[in-house]
């Protein structure tokens, strides 16, 4: 049985929305980072899906996904490092309290 492209896209959409919701509502900065990862992965699914079912099928999308994952890993490393630095300074990982730019 052939899974159609819309199913992939739907999964990606759901995943993206969950990620977006998490990124915009969660207090904990770690959860926010995880939610961002979810959104990135939703995009990855789209890339893979289009690389197979798109107008010009090829491996470009899949390779791109690999790159994305690599960069995302680096980004998470940096993000977590920043978080730890913040936590050391402010003793909190609560996103609400991270508004020094305003204060």
């Amino acid at each position: 049985m052939m899974v159609s492209i819309s199913s992939y896209l739907m999964v990606a959409l759901i995943l993206f929305c969950v990620g977006l919701y998490g990124a915009l509502t969660k207090r904990n900065a770690v959860i926010v980072l995880i939610s961002i990862e979810l959104m990135l992965n939703a995009v990855n699914i789209n890339l893979v899906a289009f690389s197979k079912f798109g107008l010009h099928p090829g491996v470009t999308g899949q390779i791109f996904t690999l790159f994305t994952m690599t960069v995302a890993a680096a980004e998470v490393a940096v993000g977590l490092a920043i978080l730890i630095a913040l936590y050391r300074n402010k003793e909190t990982v609560n996103v609400d309290e991270m508004d020094q730019m305003k204060r």
């Binding site: 990124a23 509502t25 996103v95 991270m98 508004d99 730019m101």
Partner: protein, 640 residues
Amino acid sequence: MDTLLHYAWLIPLFPLLAFIVIVSFGRQLKEGAALVGILLTGISFGIALLTFWERFQDGASNFKFNVSWLQVGDIVISMGFEVNQLNAMMLVIVTLVSLLVQIYSKGYMQGDERFPVFYQYLALFTFSMLGLVLSPNLLQVYIFWELVGVCSFLLVGYYFFKKEAKAAAKKAFIVTRIGDLGLFIAICLLFWWTGSFEYTQIFDSVALGKLEPWMITLAAILIFVGAVGKSGQFPLHTWLPDAMEGPTPVSALIHAATMVAAGVYLVAATYPLFIASDTALTVVAYVGGFTAIFAASIGLTQKDIKRVLAYSTVSQLGYMMLALGVAGAAGYVAGSFHLMTHAFFKALLFLGAGSVIHAVHTQNVFEMGGLWKKMPITALTFLIGCLAIAGIFPFAGFWSKEAILGAVYGAHRFDLLLIALLAAFFTAFYMFRLFFLTFAGEARGKHQPHESPAVMTGPLLILALLAIVAGFINTPYAPLLSDWLLASDTGNAISHIFGDEVAHAASWLQVVALLISVLGIVLAYLMYVKKKIPADTIPETLPWLYQLSYRKYYVDEIYHAVIVRPLGWIGFILNAFDKYVVDGLVGLTAKITNGIGALHSKAQNGQIQSYGTMVLFGLLVLIIAISLTVQGGGFFGSGQ
């Protein structure tokens, strides 16, 4: 050849120097400021006298010096100075009167807190008046003209803590400004038509007929409007009596002898313009004549010693204008001659009045009396001044008044002659009413009067001497001044139009004028010394007539109702409009901007997540908007 005339520019410079010195070191100088002022003005008087002497010599010629000041296109505007007959005479009058007034003020203003300031103003005034007199072009005249106005404002408002003085200073400034506007327009028009501010070029254009007759008339009348403002002619005379709020020496210097003479001087200096237009001359003559009789009739009833003198000034200035207005050489000479003699005896009268006020501490003549014994020098000099202004032989006023009457008679203007004679009668009457009330009879004042110090009586004696002898410079038998004045360019212009003849009063006219003056004096004597005629005959039989004169014909009230009040209302409305509409609009704009800003700054809460939400909503709105507007329905299209 290098003559002294080349150095006439030094004359106004010394008072300017005095002004600068006193401004810079007034606090340190204190009463020494008087010495600085007197010394420097004395030097400039010396130069003026020598200049006058040099110019008076046979064969002396005018001297004119010009430097180019501004160049606009082809037009060169120049600055410089000029010495001719008329202003050589004026230089002496101004410096002399100013010098005497400054000496006198040293006594009069003694102990005043702002003593150096007073001398500053006097020096600045002297400078501006001398600058005005020396100016060879109308632009320069206008600059000094305004400077003179400013000094008048400062000096009238010298006692600025007095409400009346403040109001009088403002009035003097504003009312003369009305006249100044006329002069300003005249200068602009003349510049437009002739392309020059120079007297000589303007007169040449007139003589060569380059200007239409109506242009000459218009320009002359507008210049006369300026003179009306400065010289206190009807209907702009109201500021002059009010200006008596200033210190008395100021009244002598500015409002009697020199500044108000600026108007007459201006008419005399631009005389070639006036004689080219019969209409303008007629206007000058009738305004002058009317002012002479009008002010004299007000002077009859005033109770304030300085106000009587102020109205007599207005009246005498009217005389000068009348003389200038009746065309011809005689009028020109008589006007200038009377300008000179009047400067002496009016300064004398004002300084005498100042001496009296200094002694009795009141200005109301009904609270004086009996001062003849207490203040012999003041009384004697004042008497001489009164005799001079009343035109009694052989005092200065007799000769100059006779010259004016002769000029009017010679021009066959019998209506004006009648007015002039009547005004002469009034003048004699009110001057001696003033004299008898002040010096004769019983003392009615509360203070113990005493003679003023020598520093004050000295100038009085000098002026009294001048009031006696100044007339002899121009008698019908030896018309020195007349011949000399008419040897000028202006004189040539006059004789070009009217012929050479200088009419002198027929001898019967002299006798009649003298009799009329004596009659006025006798009447005053009977009323106020012998009390044969009760002084309140007129107030009781014709109260409205008395009130009309005492209230100065209600001119001030009329102006107040017709001009001041409506202007006040307009000002009120415009002020309200500015405050509520214009300011309101500005305020509204500011408030709206502020509100929007406050709204936006609330959105900037520093929460990254709310920013993210906003971005998301923004994106959604964008997507919806695009899909609704883009052709074909896009994402939300109906599927067709």
